[in-house]
């Protein structure tokens, strides 16, 4: 399963829900599938998307949607891993974190991360979250449906390969990105 295969399934399952998207190749490949105002593109801030999504899931606007989704990479999740403890503490039932795990820092040349020796699902469960793996598109499709239905914060570890779809750099002004996203939440 490529990253873009996984992204396509995520946005099919969550077409209108707020989605926080981690930096680098993930943002670029999601934009290549089509811009959408319900997507918050995080252009840097490695390690922060899970926390941003946590804050969103606690905010008044989140009540309008079934879920607040975070798309994260394995390297960035390792940087912000302790956020899972705070997710477990606050228990936002709308919080869904999808980790696209290829065991590498894809945007910087494919250097390995520590993800292969880390059991993200067990860590998430130890923090009071629900969790499951997905190894291919069929499993991810099913996991995303489960993620929509589960009534507690949840993590899906989606194993992807090292394919990087060529996509241009995404160079839009972050001020505009935040405003479009904020208005989408406000007007939904």
């Amino acid at each position: 399963m490529t990253r873009q295969d996984a992204l396509r399934l995520i946005i099919q399952e969550f077409p209108r829900e707020p989605i926080v998207v981690t930096l680098g190749q993930t943002v670029r490949e999601l934009v290549a599938l089509g811009r959408s105002d319900n997507h918050l593109y995080v252009l840097d801030s490695m390690g922060l998307p899970p926390a941003i999504g946590l804050g969103l899931s606690l905010a008044p606007a989140a009540r309008k949607f079934a879920k607040t989704v975070v798309i994260e990479g394995d390297g960035s999740l390792l940087m912000g891993l302790s956020t899972l403890a705070t997710v477990g503490l606050l228990k936002p039932e709308r919080y869904l974190l999808v980790v696209l795990d290829n065991g590498t820092y894809a945007s910087t040349g494919g250097q390995p991360t520590a993800a292969p020796v880390v059991d993200f699902c067990r860590i998430a469960e130890a923090c009071g979250m629900a969790a499951r793996d997905a190894h291919d598109e069929a499993e991810l499709r099913e996991a995303l449906r489960w993620g929509r239905a589960v009534r507690q914060p949840a993590l899906i570890r989606a194993y992807i390969d090292n394919t990087n779809i060529p996509a241009p750099y995404f160079l839009e002004d972050p001020v505009g990105l935040a405003e479009r996203f904020r208005r989408y939440l406000e007007q939904s």
Partner: protein
Amino acid sequence: MRNIADPLAAEPLSLSGTGRAWPSVEERSQAIIAALEEIRPDMILTIPSSTLKHVLAAFEGRADIPVVPLTREEEGIGIAAGMVLGGGRPVLVIQDNGLGNSLTALATFPQAYHIPLLILVSQRGGLGEYNSMIHTFCEHVEDIVRAAGLRAFSLDGRIPAEQWRTAIVKAFEYAQITHRPVLVLCNLMGF
């Protein structure tokens, strides 16, 4: 003589020639509490400092203004900014060396995306400090924050406590109208 074993014990330092004592830790804390009561955040996100204990104790157990412990100050930047985007009204309450853990997050997310945030920051490492090494970072915080382009205001013992409340409330409002994080550096021990 200050009791080193209890550095926060009230022994007000006085301004030379005025006979007027600097505000005590308790007075400064009460001013911060009053400001937060006026702002009425929907959440206080914190990694506590010992000098903030009176402030945080005032909100402990409150359902209307819950106090949430963070694992890292950086995480709090993300949570707070996400809440604001979704219409929330959080305030961060942290120690100044926590800004060292937060700089990239601050600069690349709320600052860059123009997300208003109030961050109350307890200053350490100045006169009255009891920790022998904390100044190695803390005494540089104002310069670091300025170099990073973050807007900060400072409150210390030279400013009457009754003015702290107004300053903090105005800092919250200023963050909203300038669409950016605003830091209030609060020295609760001295200056």
